[in-house]
Symmetry: C2
Subunit: 286 residues, 2 copies
């Protein structure tokens, strides 16, 4: 069984064809331009394969309410050409197979859950810390959706005692994203995050906020695995620092068997979303 | 079909018999003493009814891990007579019918979801703000459990600018419970919460923390209803204040149709947990 997958990113599209175990047989990528031209490039790549289903992980905001008339459409995005574009509908009419769609972070979470760091877990959180902070949660095989959709990057946090930064989130100032995204780090120090490697304080504060975000998720969702990735986590020492802060903040209130197994890096490198899109299609087809 | 229900509280037991629509036919309550004597009183009450199942909402901590050898046992509680008491096992061997058990806050949530303020909602949060702060979440008819169990009262929050109180939680100091429980209010001002009615600042700060807690839950779980109750909410003006703060903190980031319908008081008064225990038994039996 061949499955098609699209990671529809704001800057590039990744298209792949894989088997139902998440093995990628062929893959390509190209820049995201207008919807018509971008989907034409995708069509060209997929035309030489006979696929049984297509899974899509898209940038957002996207309408994921199945009862909505605009289900599967991109919503009000700064990328004007894509604004209100009925992505799912267009793909469904172009390919004569079932098409399944979710956000890029949710498909990334599905990827890690089925084929990566969360493979043997009942439930798995995936959080990406990059320009912004986004997270998805999969439990019992399904992406957790809620009434609206979760926006975990915007929870409010306790300020670090040595941090006077007001926060970079235009809506909430000092939410998790406003305090700990790559953007927040750059605004706090006036330099790109990757140029701050030598400053211990930067990463202490960063670990404190990430640990706090994970702790709040832990007391609310209680996931078995928490996978954190994205550009900021290229600072690999953050993993040990986040784990230490997490245990310190939690302060034995809930049992944690082994924090090294609870808070982990992704295993699928840049292929989470594409592999997760395969999983999305495979699991829904069944 | 008659269903038995027990709300096993730390200070009193409530026993009831009801029908499968949550209507209570008869109810009694008595103080929680030793497990043997308390269960004997329960047995006496139930002996005149022919029940098909029994639902139990218990005080905690309780082992809810179905794979655990001590599933359904009370864990390490300050109530020494109940420490490690195998509540579920004892009830199962005493009554020759299926017995289902969850925490008191989870059954309270089930009660509001099936028969109360969350009746027509897909998903419902129930938060009780009393001596401590506890919350349960029901989605698609099921209590959300997670790997451990959620302990939402212990999420960390941003401090109110005018609040210098360090927080009352022995584990985290300024978590939600440490900042906004009845205990926190009493420690912050040195007087019982119900004696502070005339001080606006008390309730402004209280509303700010409750709204923050609800916002963090909203961005993580996205429930359709958020029911808040418990002793502190006897201060009824808090509902309007919490809604206002919630909208202010969320700052239009996520759409909220009608906050008056999102954040609501309970509808079942003191019968949430007992009615929810009925629901627990009815839904599991099916
Ligand atoms: N080596 C690094 N150390 C710390 N931060 C980094 C590093 N490399 C990139 N970043 C930060 O990661 C962010 C980009 O994250 P990334 O996940 O790659 O992109 P996006 O979130 O846009 O998809 C930027 O804010 C950048 O400053
Ligand atoms: N009228 C009131 N206004 C504000 N707080 C109150 C009021 N009545 C009780 N409380 C507070 O509620 C808490 C008890 O909550 P309750 O839900 O009744 O009990 P518990 O949490 O122990 O089950 C106490 O901390 C008390 O100060
Ligand atoms: Zn924000
Ligand atoms: Zn706490």
């Amino acid at each position: 069984m061949l499955i098609g997958a699209i990671e529809a990113g704001g800057t590039k599209f990744v298209c792949a064809v894989g088997d139902e175990n998440g093995n990628i047989l062929q893959k390509t990528s190209f820049p995201t331009v207008s919807p018509e031209d971008t989907l034409a490039s995708a069509k060209q790549f997929f035309s030489s394969f006979e696929m049984e289903a297509l899974g899509v992980g898209t940038f957002g905001p996207v309408d994921l309410n199945k009862n909505s008339k605009t289900y599967g459409s991109i919503l009000n995005t700064p990328k004007t050409k894509w604004r209100y574009y009925p992505l799912l509908e267009k793909l469904q009419s172009e390919y004569n197979i079932p098409v399944y769609l979710d956000t890029d972070v949710n498909t990334a979470c599905l990827g890690e859950y089925y084929y990566g760091a969360g493979k043997h877990a009942e439930s798995c959180l995936y959080m990406t810390v990059g320009t912004g902070i986004g997270a998805g949660f999969v439990g019992e095989g399904k992406v957790f959706q809620g009434k609206n959709h979760p926006e975990m990057g915007h929870m409010l946090l306790k300020q670090h005692p040595n941090d006077t930064f007001v926060g970079s989130c235009p809506s909430h100032r000092s939410c998790l994203e406003g305090l700990a995204s790559g953007t927040a780090i750059e605004k706090r120090y006036g330099r790109k995050a990757n140029l701050l490697t030598h400053l211990d304080e930067v990463w202490e504060i960063e670990a404190y906020y990430l640990a706090q975000g994970l702790m709040n998720i832990y007391v609310i969702l209680s996931p078995e695995k928490m996978v954190i990735g994205g550009g900021v986590l290229k600072q690999e020492r953050l993993y040990a620092m986040v784990r230490e802060q997490f245990m310190k903040l939690l302060n034995d209130y809930l049992e944690v068997n082994d924090v090294d197994e609870l808070i982990v890096p992704p295993k699928l490198d840049d292929e989470q979303a594409v592999k997760g899109s395969i999983a999305l299609a495979v699991k829904n087809k069944r």
